[in-house]
């Protein structure tokens, strides 16, 4: 009995919530996010499941969308504009890059809009707000994994087999996710105060697309600009994907490292900025 009481007291101590005004830098509190992992899982699952309800083709769209885009790219940029493709077949060349790009683009857009889109929820229930943009990124990751299957089939079709470098692929994937997360966190926090952020994000992503060697190889970029060009983490991801899967593209080097550092700064600052804004989300509706 005494033990039980002690347990209760101990248990209760663990459950104390302190409510006070926001002061200084707020910790990221990964422990709390972990405690809400079920919610994270269900938010991802809700998004995916509800998106394809009442659609004739359903989840097929996940793979159909990038596939159709690649057909268009191949016809326009590969056949008409005759953009070089570093020796691979153009569809494989473009698709290998477009996959991580698509992941980045949707994850960034989704996470940037996620706070505003979930305001009704945020203003009524407490949960660690970071779950929301994280869930948005995870949804895009699920889409990515599905369309990755298409790529594998395409590579088989064109008899393009990867080397051992393929082992670095998860790291490049992680870089893409981290980049979109960092950008998404900044934009999501800003969008609470400025609703025009979501319009801006669309254009920024579009510009970013042309600044990333998706439809063209980075070798086409003039030597003078190449260093700066490759600082773009998505350029690193895209070229890295080509390197890991096709053996073309660029192997990781000093610039890769620099761009990783850049992403880390973006991500960490984004997360802290997000935590800082978090407390006033409901007040600035």
């Amino acid at each position: 009995m005494k033990n039980l009481r002690e347990f209760n007291i101990h248990h209760k101590r663990k459950n104390i919530t302190i409510i006070q005004p926001q002061k200084g830098l707020i910790a990221l509190d990964f422990q709390e996010i972990w405690a809400y992992r079920d919610l994270l899982y269900l938010l991802v699952w809700r998004d995916i499941k509800s998106r394809y309800r009442q659609m004739a083709l359903g989840p097929l769209w996940i793979v159909l969308q990038p596939f159709l885009t690649i057909v268009i790219f191949t016809v326009i940029f590969g056949n008409f504009a005759k953009i070089p493709s570093d020796g691979s077949a153009y569809p494989v060349f473009a698709y290998t890059a477009f996959l991580p790009w698509q992941l980045f683009a949707t994850a960034t857009a989704k996470s940037s809009d996620s706070l505003v889109n979930n305001l009704p929820l945020i203003s009524k229930v407490y949960f660690p707000r970071l779950v929301i943009p994280i869930a948005a990124v995870f949804v895009s990751l699920v889409d990515f994994l599905a369309s990755f299957g298409i790529l594998l089939m395409m590579m088989l079709f064109y008899r393009s087999y990867p080397t051992l470098a393929v082992l670095t692929l998860p790291l490049y994937l992680l870089l893409a996710v981290a980049t979109s997360m960092g950008v998404g966190l900044w934009f999501a926090s800003l969008s609470v105060k400025f609703r025009d952020v979501s319009i801006a994000v669309t254009y920024i992503i579009q510009l970013w697309f042309y600044a990333t060697p998706v439809i063209y190889p980075s070798s086409m970029v003039p030597e003078v600009w190449r260093g700066l060009f490759l600082l773009n983490p998505m350029a690193q991801v895209v070229e890295g994907f080509r390197w890991a899967l096709l053996g073309t593209g660029r192997s990781p080097d000093g610039i890769t490292l620099a761009s990783i550092v850049l992403v880390l700064i973006l991500l960490v600052s984004g997360a802290f900025y997000f935590r800082q804004t978090e407390g006033s989300i409901v007040d600035s509706i």
């Binding site: 459950n15 409510i19 926001q22 079920d38 499941k49 009524k124 229930v125 600035s284």
Partner: protein, 412 residues
């Protein structure tokens, strides 16, 4: 155990009026007026208490709940909460219309902070409470609004927190289900010793459910006491009326014949009260001064309910004074309104003094005092075991007699 589960010290929340997203295009600078939605609110709530929070719109009720459920942060002050908090500020938050009832139970549960195994464990109970078993695999967008609310409350009711924070969520849904929810909340508090914080405009619900109440006014805590005391104070303020009206000498209504002194509602022991149980009588007394002798004077009381319906009038028709002229002096006319006659709710009481024949009204004062009748569901009222919506402007307890007159089954 008298553990303090919620302790708030000087909780304050400041908003800036007219604060809009700033425009970089050089819009005229707006004046940022500060507004304290909550100012220096301190209180302590012990485990197992059911505390109602009342106050007018804008008194800070919702702000306080939002702070306690961590949706927004306070500007100043400090609060400490021991135990898991479940807050229900809106029924059905996070429901997705495209998903089925089953899927939404899991989603909503997770949003409210339940783990999947907890939801699994309570799943059948939730479905039974919501009464939606046939529609479990139908998207909730096809649900009727009643079904929707039932499902949402069912999930929240099974949340199993140590502290339950509930905003005016029961304003939606049909009356029968509202009562079912109130019943469930009361049960949770009474049987499981959980602490409930409950905001409502429905004084009836607060008085029935809560043991204590917090009265907020313009962001400040005006009173934190037993529920009856707080409701009295609230009603007094809301109506500008109480259960007793005493006129100052020079302001007393009257003419050269008769003048009012005071009117009050009291219980059997002569104690002035604002809250009466439905199963106890209410005594209304009118004290007046007759300044000129030789008139037949009869006291009158008008009962109006919250919807401004004249429920009934009472004339003093006692034999003793019926046809007798009154002498100069002070008189007190008291009428007993029997137990189990008034319905639940708020009554506004007006008084008059008249001469019946030839008819002449000496004094007629409307809305003089208020009286509040509640049913504590002790099962000795006209409700019996029924807790649903009970219409009718009065609720007399009548004698019933039922007997078996034929034991054959007439259908066969």
């Amino acid at each position: 155990m008298t553990d303090t589960v919620i302790r708030a010290e000087n909780l304050s929340k400041r908003y800036f009026l007219g604060k809009r997203p700033r425009s970089i295009l050089g819009e005229k600078k707006q004046k940022n007026e500060a507004f304290w939605a909550l100012k220096d609110v301190s209180f302590e709530i012990k485990a197992g208490e059911v505390v109602g929070i009342i106050g007018r719109n804008g008194a800070g009720k919702s702000t306080m709940l939002k702070i306690l459920s961590r949706i927004t942060k306070p500007t100043g002050g400090y609060a400490e909460i021991r135990g898991r908090v479940g807050s229900l500020l809106e029924v059905g938050t996070g429901f997705h219309p495209e998903l089925t009832g089953r899927e939404n139970i899991f989603l909503n549960g997770a949003i409210l902070g339940m783990h999947r195994w907890e939801i699994n464990k309570k799943f059948d109970e939730i479905v039974a409470f919501a009464e939606i078993d046939q529609f479990l695999d139908t998207p909730v967008k096809r649900y009727s609004s009643g079904m929707y609310v039932r499902l949402a409350f069912a999930v929240a009711a099974h949340l199993d927190p140590e502290i339950l924070i509930v905003d005016e969520v029961l304003a939606v849904g049909d009356a029968v289900f509202q009562k079912k929810c109130l019943g469930k909340m009361g049960e949770v508090a009474a049987k499981e010793g959980k602490t409930v914080l409950f905001v409502s405009h429905n004084i009836e619900a607060v008085s029935r459910l809560c043991t204590q109440a917090i009265f907020l006014q313009n962001g400040s805590l005006k009173l934190f006491d037993k529920v009856d005391t707080v409701i009295n104070s609230y009603l007094q303020l809301k109506m500008g009326l109480s259960s007793e009206k005493i006129w100052q000498k020079d302001k007393a209504p009257g003419n050269e014949i008769v003048e009012l002194i005071y009117v009050r509602a009291q219980d059997e022991n002569g104690k002035v009260r604002e809250l009466f149980n439905i199963s106890e009588p209410v005594y209304i007394s009118i004290v007046y001064k007759v300044k000129k002798s030789g008139y037949i004077l009869s006291a009158v009381i008008n009962f109006f309910n919250e919807r401004d319906i004249n429920v009934f009038d009472l004339h003093d028709v006692s034999q003793q004074w019926r046809k007798k002229e009154k002498e100069i002096g002070t008189y007190c006319s008291t009428v007993k309104i029997p137990e189990n006659f008034l319905s639940e709710g708020l009554f506004l009481i007006g008084v008059a003094i008249l001469t019946p024949n030839p008819f002449y009204v000496h004094i007629h004062e409307k809305d003089v005092i208020v009286s509040n009748v509640v049913d504590d569901l002790a099962e000795n009222s006209a409700r019996g075991d029924f807790i649903g919506h009970f219409p009718g402007v009065v609720r007399p307890l009548m004698k019933w007699k039922t007997e078996l007159i034929n034991s054959e089954n007439i259908i066969n």
